[in-house]
């Protein structure tokens, strides 16, 4: 993967608004943003109602994912272009999700909704009607998803990257500072994890830094890119962002997103925890 296959620019979006092969999908943490205005022709997925199982804590089943895409007129050969607020956190999570279920051509708008707004590009309220398809997903690709037992086994051996803010890593905060302070049962981080906040990879306007800068951020923090890497945060969205940087932009293989993240790990009985910077 590379920037050329994984990212599109806002100019590209403007040129492809009417492209019938392309479906724009907005995925936000604040799900009211889409109703306030979205890119012309874009549909939206709700990060919880559409993308979480709801009964067990897990991704939706293959059948539910197929139904979601079919209902929204996404075909197997559609170019899916994701974007969202909050520096594309939930959009990169959806990108990872599309990759889990084997979608061929999925991309992200560099800068997401923020850059679109900062450029004062047009947003519309009209919700498009799309003809249904019969989407067929692949079986889940768990080579990009980490589970708790492999995270525990990775302590002291593989790269573990904690992409939360320094205050969450040290145990000062339990959640990002724009949310009420709820999280795992305890505060802190997974021992031997390196704290490389997701935000290091983004420019102020929400676009990604250059590949050279990105690589130096991880290598400079002591991540050996020849080894397997597991990224985590609080609930798996910010770490999907960092997974995207490593796996999709830098083309590093063997990078997994631990979507159980701190809300799972910080509630496990008997696992080691570290605090402090």
């Amino acid at each position: 993967m590379s920037r050329e296959t994984a990212l599109v620019t806002t100019d590209w979006v403007t040129e492809n608004l009417k492209n019938p092969k392309v479906v724009f999908v907005e995925v936000d943490e604040d799900t009211t943003l889409y109703e306030q205005g979205h890119i012309e022709g874009a549909i939206t997925f709700h990060w919880r109602d559409d993308l979480q199982d709801g009964l067990v804590r897990d991704l939706v089943s293959k059948e539910k994912f197929e139904a979601l895409l079919s209902k929204n007129g996404i075909a197997n050969d559609t170019t899916v272009v994701l974007y969202g607020g909050n520096n594309n956190w939930f959009a990169t999570y959806a990108y990872w999700y599309f990759k889990i279920y084997g979608h061929q051509d999925v991309r992200l708008i560099d800068g997401g909704r923020k850059l679109w707004e900062l450029k004062a590009l047009p947003l519309v309220k009209e919700v498009p009607a799309r003809a249904a398809t019969r989407y067929v997903a692949k079986e889940r690709d768990n080579s990009i998803r980490a589970f708790r037992d492999e995270v525990i086994a990775a302590i002291g051996t593989l790269n573990i990257v904690d992409v939360r803010s320094p205050a969450e890593f040290s145990g000062e905060l339990a959640a990002p500072a724009h949310l009420p302070q709820e999280g795992g049962q305890i505060k802190g981080h997974i021992p031997t994890a390196k704290n490389i906040p997701w935000s290091k990879a983004a420019n102020e306007d929400g676009t990604f830094k250059s590949e050279e800068e990105l690589k130096s951020i991880y290598v400079g923090a002591g991540v050996d890119l020849a080894k397997d890497t597991i990224a985590y945060c609080r609930i798996g969205e910010r770490s999907a962002f960092s997974w995207f940087v490593l796996h999709e932009l830098l083309g590093v293989n063997n990078v997994k997103n631990y979507d159980g993240s701190w809300t799972e790990y910080g509630s496990l009985v008997g696992v080691p925890v570290a605090v402090g910077a």
Partner: protein
């Protein structure tokens, strides 16, 4: 548009346990052309970034339809950066338990 009687600042603190939260909040306003309201009109979807005392990014929010935002920070010194089309404004602010920092930011 804000009416003349509205209290400037961030969203209502009803239901927020101030004894456990150090809040930084406020409203982003821009002088309107035709609105005739001295405080200006709220700017929805401005982007407010919270940087820690080392200048490192901690969190970011778009303002709501009333131009408001709220961070649940830790006590200490913080920097806010407000981004809107053609605008970048930086402010220093302190957070403390029990006493919300409530700001009116003109851009």
């Amino acid at each position: 548009m804000k009416t003349c009687g509205a209290t400037p600042g961030g969203p209502s603190l009803d239901g927020v346990d101030l004894s456990t939260q150090s809040i930084i909040q406020g409203v982003v306003l821009k002088e309107g052309v035709d609105d005739g309201v001295p405080n200006g009109v709220p700017v929805a979807n401005a982007h407010v970034r919270l940087l820690d005392s080392h200048g490192d990014f901690t969190a970011e929010l778009p303002t709501n339809v009333d131009g408001q935002f709220r961070f649940f920070a830790a006590p200490g010194s913080w920097t806010l950066v407000v981004l809107a089309p053609g605008v970048r404004k930086e402010l220093s602010v302190s957070a403390a338990l029990g006493v919300p920092a409530d700001l009116v930011i003109q851009i």
